[in-house]
């Protein structure tokens, strides 16, 4: 059972190598990584005890920014698209954040939902700019100045996403351990005490909000380039609900859980959604209920239980949270 401890490392390796053996899996895994980035954004906010039902708006905003950029400057570079997406979603996060960080819990969640519904409606209504519900095509950008063929671009995009996901994991992990991140957890446990320490809870939450918007935006740019088309559906509430669902599935508030959840979710969806398209949301709903009521620590929690049973080297035990 000692193998259990190395499970995460083995999984990362499998994900990295698998597309070499099974090329068509690249697209699915890239989608999973992109969603994982957005879920990571939701996880950052969950650390403060806040849940956003509208994070798909940042996902959609940066996806559309990629589409507009490719429309305006054919042959723009992937790096430019990703950067522009992050700037776009970060700015939007700062503006919306200024408003929503004044609120907690129900208001926080629902105001985010309201903003995302507005964006969705605008994307759908302004068809002369955004192409309405048909969306916009996104051409293939150059990759660091190189014009790649389709398959090699997909491979490059996949490994770029994997690298970005790793970097984001590391960064968010460090962020949550930093004094700023600890203050973020304090918003959940006791906001009043935090304020008595002379720390502005709103300011902390705003920083976290912008970070989470940028993460969601990064995911959105990747999705846009990966699919080659953007539609208002990217910002629909169902998408936001999906992010929250994956965050809870992976293990609320855990960095690696975001990607573990996204991989499991995307692979299951890939095989099952076609068979059960009509009841897909229903299945999600029941699984969500099941996790909340019976296994509130998600996939990461299950793994930790497994690792705690298996004695590691020198009898070290993973502490149960």
């Amino acid at each position: 059972m000692r193998l259990v401890r190395y499970l995460p490392a083995v999984l990362v390796l499998v994900v990295a190598v698998l597309p070499l053996a099974v090329p068509w899996l690249k697209i699915v895994l890239t989608v999973a990584l992109a969603k994982g980035l957005a879920v990571l954004g939701v996880v950052v906010l969950l650390r403060a005890g806040q849940v956003s039902f509208g994070h798909a708006m940042f996902f959609a905003a940066s996806a559309y920014s990629a589409a507009f950029l490719m429309q305006g400057f054919a042959g723009a570079d992937l790096a430019v698209l990703l950067l522009a997406g992050m700037v776009c979603s970060g700015t939007m996060g700062a503006v919306i954040g200024l408003f929503v960080v004044r609120y907690r819990y129900i208001f926080f969640g629902m105001l985010n939902l309201a903003f995302s519904m507005v964006l969705y409606a605008l994307l759908e209504k302004m068809f002369h700019i955004t192409g309405g519900s048909d969306g916009m095509a996104v051409g293939r950008p150059t990759y660091l100045g190189l014009e790649l063929a389709r398959t090699s671009f997909e491979t490059a995009l996949f490994y770029t996403s994997l690298g970005l996901a790793g970097a984001a994991c590391w960064f968010v992990h460090r962020f949550l351990r930093s004094p700023l991140g600890e203050a973020l957890s304090a918003i959940r446990t006791n906001e009043t005490r935090l304020e008595y320490l002379g720390i502005s809870a709103r300011w902390i939450l705003l920083i976290a909000y912008v970070l989470s918007a940028v993460l969601a935006g990064l995911g959105g740019s990747i999705i846009a380039v990966n699919q080659g088309v953007v539609t208002p559906d990217l910002g629909y509430w169902i998408r936001s609900g999906e992010f929250v669902f994956i965050a809870i599935l992976g293990g609320a508030g855990h960095v690696l859980g975001a990607f573990a959840g996204a991989l499991v979710y995307e692979l299951v969806r890939f095989y099952a959604a076609a068979m059960a398209a009509d009841v897909w949301q229903m299945i999600l709903g029941f699984v969500l209920l099941g996790i909340i009521l019976f296994a509130s620590r998600g996939i990461v929690g299950l793994y930790r239980d497994l690792a705690a049973i298996a004695p590691g080297p020198r009898g070290h035990r993973e502490p149960l949270r």
Binding site: L46, G49, Q50, V51, F53, F99, R102, Y103, Y105, I106, F107, G109, M110, L111, L113, A114, F115, M117, V118, A121, L122, K125, M126, T192, W237, G241, V244, I248, D278, V279, W280, Q281, M282, L284, G285, F286, L288, L289, I292, L293, S296
Partner: protein
Amino acid sequence: MDPILLLLATLDGIAYAALVFLVAVGLTLIFGVMRILNVAHGAFYAIGGYAAASLVLAISDADFSPWLSFPALLVAAAGVGAALGLVIERFLLRHIYAKEEVLQLLVTFAAFMILEDVQRLVWGVQPYSATDPVRLLGTVDVMGIPYNAYQIILLPVIAVMVLLGLRWFLRRTLSGKVITAVTEDRETAIAMGIDARKVFTVTFVIGAVLAALGGALASPTTAIQLGLGAEMIVLSFAVVATAGLGQVEGAALTALLIGLGRSFAVYLVPELDVLIPYMIMVLVLLFRPQGLFAVAEKRRI
């Protein structure tokens, strides 16, 4: 602006506000008593609409008197609301009263997702609507403009009756006073021997029936289709948040404000009609974070 358009916008706004109020008041009532924001409320509205439309269509197919469609709307709303409300409160919410607020929100969100697919399975993707009631009531002249009586007389009358009825129920009857007591101070109410669980069940069912009634009354004039529930829960949350969570009378005034704002936008700046309710909400919340009609809660330390 053309005075005729002005009048039309006002009439549209009133009719729309009546429907929004029915949904919003249930949401705010449930929140006041249970401190849970019921995201599944939007699904109650949509399912109420579907059920009512199907029942009315069945009545006209069976060649019964079309006047039966009016009681049919009420029966559908009461049936759907009571059944869904009871099941969800009993089997779902009851397990989460002690949990974190975020988890409560997620549980009702999960219920919403499930119910959305229930609609898809039962009624499919095509829009439903049952126009019999509108046709039967004909039109009335409002200052020279013919407008259908269903929207401008029946809907507002029902909304006002619900408002007055709720006021009377909450202030004058024993059950209503018990509900108010739990809203004001749950712990003390329980200490006095009030069965809070029973109060929760009753409140939730009343709220669910009101939402389903909103949907049923909307079915003659709106196409009931997938996605309607999501729109309605967000809109009625905007109303409830602008009024202040838990405010029954406030919800009525705010529904009117937002309904009129929206219908004027439809005539003046049609691209922005979806934005207006949220702009009103954001404006109000910027200056009064607790809502228009609520008193700010003291910080508990």
